[in-house]
Subunit: 401 residues, 2 copies
């Protein structure tokens, strides 16, 4: 078993941990892929925002900066995390609402097609939204078959593609298993069939490097309260490739997506560019925290983030093999780090009870049915010592569960 | 001209002003109906939330309180401002997104009907959303004729109602003129025709007392960053009457509106009660500030808020008559306070330039095309001295515009 303290000493990102609230406490936090820890600077930023910007500038803040904020923060995420040129990303709404708008927009790009291709292993919201959109547009859902030993592969997707496919909606990293899909190859397969792709990046953004422009992705949506540290319920982001921006169309038509919001004219005319994906007034307060994390990612670079992430998940797998497998637990995530996202899931029939015991001991991983210990390893704030302590605690409680 | 200082001395709510950020500065803020001032306590609350709740409780915060927060804050708004029993109101999404979901839900309650009845004077988003929903459901829009001397009346609405009307979508207070609609009479007229009503309360909530339950309202949506002080882009709220809750249906079906979110099952099953109107993860950070204002309203009571609001708007009308009318300005809001919401609009052909000059002098009203000075008077934070200084400054700049 490798020594966690030594791994922390050798970690080039180790110094970042001290910037996070609570990192000095003995709490072991292994759920950074559900809700990232806040940076210490964020508390100050929030208070200063209320007093100086909101309270000081009042309505003038809209003209001075807030009106552009969803596009500015979108571009910050695009540059630091998405591999996307400016002008294609905006922030606002929940991930669910953006998925709905983006899937409606994606299907409208292929009005003569009748199928949405997706995957039963994807996060429930993706499946529920797809079912709702399919119902209202008269489309069918077509399910990719997932090989538990390989995840979603380009071949498994291609097997469901035909001239009927309007849109392929898939998660880049699977929320339970952490299987990492081959996004460029699947995107190419979808295009070969004449379909567009809509990637859900919720579990990869800020953990796995992305190259949306190079991969030829059409649309993407992602969550900001996981690896992007936006805080509970912070607004999501949507990416639409520049080549689609002049004709992309979504149904939640509010004044803020209008070409001239203050004309208050009779008809909705979509704004040029990505702004047309905006519906209501941008959630300014909700966007504050995530900027701090995105800036930290930009400082490090996604390659450095990914290297730390791979090191953390590899260490978690090593400890699962040594400490949990002898107790009957099974690794439910890929062994190959190249096929794995930023978390590791370990299954055991008594894991629900075990996780409840861990929480009582201030060891906080996630639990996902059926029987999954989900260990989420935020690269900027998690130490190897934390992983070691957490996995040892998991072995102790599992032995007595 | 009545003396502003005397009016402030006689104002039973005058003591509340000191609680607001910036109230000690000479800035004259007359746009509280676009963006309310923050309470001083809110800055502290936001910083404490980041450190203690988000940073301290981390993912445990969801089980401990955040999961229920949209319903808890919804009930707080309902009790303090809406005249609505618990369990019918939830917070989340932008006003635009909630209008979309609520209008889809309203029309689904009358699937055999073919018309949405609305008003050209209403806020653009309401009209744009209605046009989008009508397009996707194959409905027609039917426009209420607005008499500039009477606003939207029960008779003008009834004239557009027939057995084809599915839903009447109207603003309770008109965003430009401040005409206050007779919501109980219009609701009754809609019901007589077999239609449901969806009220947009954005410009009345926290300013005009509401009695949604007593009025028999079906659905309502409102904004929280105006008189409810939620901060720029804070999430909106939706009300659905208890009698509709077991069958109301909306299309943005995410995990958080599911009957059992963590079962992550194959089908979306709507949660019992108002929770089914929720789509994605609740915007916890965005909900913090508005609770402070709603608590302040609860402390005072809506009757006291309305009395102050009427006194403020009456004083603004008096000053408009004395100072601005001689310069050619015309009152665009009702004279009868019983028919007026919480703001006052005064038209003049050169008002756009005049408002630009006012902003340079740190006098901040709103401007609305064509030629409207919109004076928004937040009852909890605006002083009569502020109204007096603002209207005198308006007269000065208009004389030289």
């Amino acid at each position: 078993m490798r020594d966690a303290e030594q791994l922390d000493r050798d970690d080039p990102l180790a110094h970042l941990r001290a910037r996070y609230v609570g990192s000095e406490t003995p709490l072991v936090y292994l759920d950074g892929n559900s809700l990232g820890r806040p940076l210490r600077s964020t508390a100050e930023r929030m208070a200063a925002f209320v007093t100086d910007e909101w309270g000081g500038r009042l309505i003038r803040g809209w003209d001075e900066s807030w009106m552009e904020l969803p596009l500015v923060v979108g571009d910050e995420i695009a540059a630091a995390c998405l591999g996307a040129a400016p002008g294609q990303t905006t922030v606002g709404d929940s991930t669910t609402v953006l998925l709905y708008k983006a899937l409606r927009a994606a299907c409208a790009l292929r009005p003569d097609r009748t199928e949405v291709v997706l995957c039963r292993d994807d996060f429930p919201t993706d499946r529920y939204v797809a079912a709702s959109v399919a119902r209202e547009l008269g489309l069918s859902l077509r399910w990719v078959k997932v090989d538990p030993a390989a995840g979603v592969t380009p071949e498994s997707v291609a097997a469901q593609l035909s001239g009927r496919a309007a849109c392929v909606l898939l998660s880049h990293v699977a929320y339970r298993s952490a299987w990492l899909a081959d996004a460029p190859a699947i995107t190419a397969a979808a295009h070969d069939a004449g379909a567009v792709v809509l990637w859900d990046l919720s579990h990869s953004v800020g953990s796995v490097p992305l190259a949306l422009d190079d991969w030829g992705v059409d649309l993407a949506v992602g969550c900001t309260y996981k690896y992007l540290g936006g805080g509970p319920g912070s607004p999501a982001f949507v990416y639409v490739a520049a080549r689609h921006l002049d004709r992309v169309d979504q149904p939640v038509t509010g004044w803020m997506g209008h070409a001239d919001p203050f004309a208050m004219g009779p008809e909705w005319t979509p704004a040029p560019g990505i702004r047309r994906m905006i519906s209501g007034t941008p959630p300014v307060v909700g966007m504050l925290a995530l900027r701090d994390t995105v800036a930290t990612i930009a400082e490090v670079g996604m390659e450095g983030v990914r290297a730390k992430s791979v090191a953390l998940t590899s260490y978690a797998v090593e400890l699962a093999d040594q400490l949990l497998a002898p107790l009957g637990a099974e690794l439910a995530s890929p062994r190959d780090p190249a096929r794995r996202g930023g978390h590791v899931t370990v299954d055991h029939p008594r894991m629900r009870e075990a996780v409840a015991r861990l929480w009582e001991r201030d060891v906080i991983p996630d639990y996902r049915d059926p029987g999954g210990l989900r260990v989420g390893l935020a690269p900027l704030s998690t130490s190897f010592a934390e992983v070691g302590a957490g996995m040892r605690a998991a072995a102790e409680v599992l032995a007595h569960a």
